[in-house]
Symmetry: C2
Subunit: 198 residues, 2 copies
Amino acid sequence: MKIIIVGASGTMGKHLTSVFEKEHEVIKAASGTGDVQVDITSPESIENMYKQAGAFDALICTAGPTYVGPWKKMTDKEFRKGVDGKMMGQINLVLIGQHYINPKGSFSLITGALTHDPQLNFANASAANGAVEAFVRAAAIELENGIRINAVSPTVIENSPHYFPFFPGDIPVTMQQLEYGFRKAVFGANTGQVIKPY
Amino acid sequence: MKIIIVGASGTMGKHLTSVFEKEHEVIKAASGTGDVQVDITSPESIENMYKQAGAFDALICTAGPTYVGPWKKMTDKEFRKGVDGKMMGQINLVLIGQHYINPKGSFSLITGALTHDPQLNFANASAANGAVEAFVRAAAIELENGIRINAVSPTVIENSPHYFPFFPGDIPVTMQQLEYGFRKAVFGANTGQVIKPY
């Protein structure tokens, strides 16, 4: 199976790459490094990534920039970081990628528990997650040729301890749990699901 | 109670205005008509609306432009209609309005069943709804001084029969049910809820 991993240079992307490249052909896509460079905030850059990568079977995205900061000073400007990043970045990966993906292929996006379990300072990520999860359900009934789409929604990640103070009481998701979430999304048969790997 | 109704010239806004102005002071805000003009896709226009309206107790929004059209031709460009309209339009009404609203005031936004029950051609509205609903939950834990926020989420509206063919089998929400949803949001005590008035 040929798998494109967007965000391959990040904490989650590195782990998924190291695991999946033992069994499959992995195309590492990231903003600065990797086999293919991509800026997910740019539809043109996404289109170029797909042209370079060629036809593929699975797209995994672990990239999702959002704004983290105090609510009272949050304006449209700060909010657009997550809108253009985690939200439209991932939505455009699908809207454009549908024209390059093989039949029976799959899109596996990243969201997070903030959709239903908000934390102070993270309203932007909550909104982006909520948008992506609703989009996943909508895309699942639109995609043809057996193409599937799911989201993997972890809590805070064990390898990101700097985030722990923002998520009091959240039991961190291990990298193996995250990996299993994406295994379910990529190698399972479901579509339109939000997979909680915990 | 002083209530600003954004989208006052639309199908839902007209009904809510006619009902609530019997009991309260209603400021009608809309894009072309009304007591105050507002273009919710512009943060500057929203700021001007609040400056003209003055301090208020409740903000109701029934305005939410989104793109409706075939999935395969949907690109970033079409998708931005709902991003800048129903999503960021409503989010900016809150981010800006928090600085003008009275203590114990409330924001009541509009979403819809498409968040969890998608229909063909409506992926843009699904994503916008999902974003707004997750934002409502996040904003509810950020807002201070007893200020509340909720979303009202109807199915297709009885007064919009041109939408019926797109929502096969959906039992239309009556204008009275919709009104009751907003009554619960504005005059109830809950916050961070998605109210389904059916």
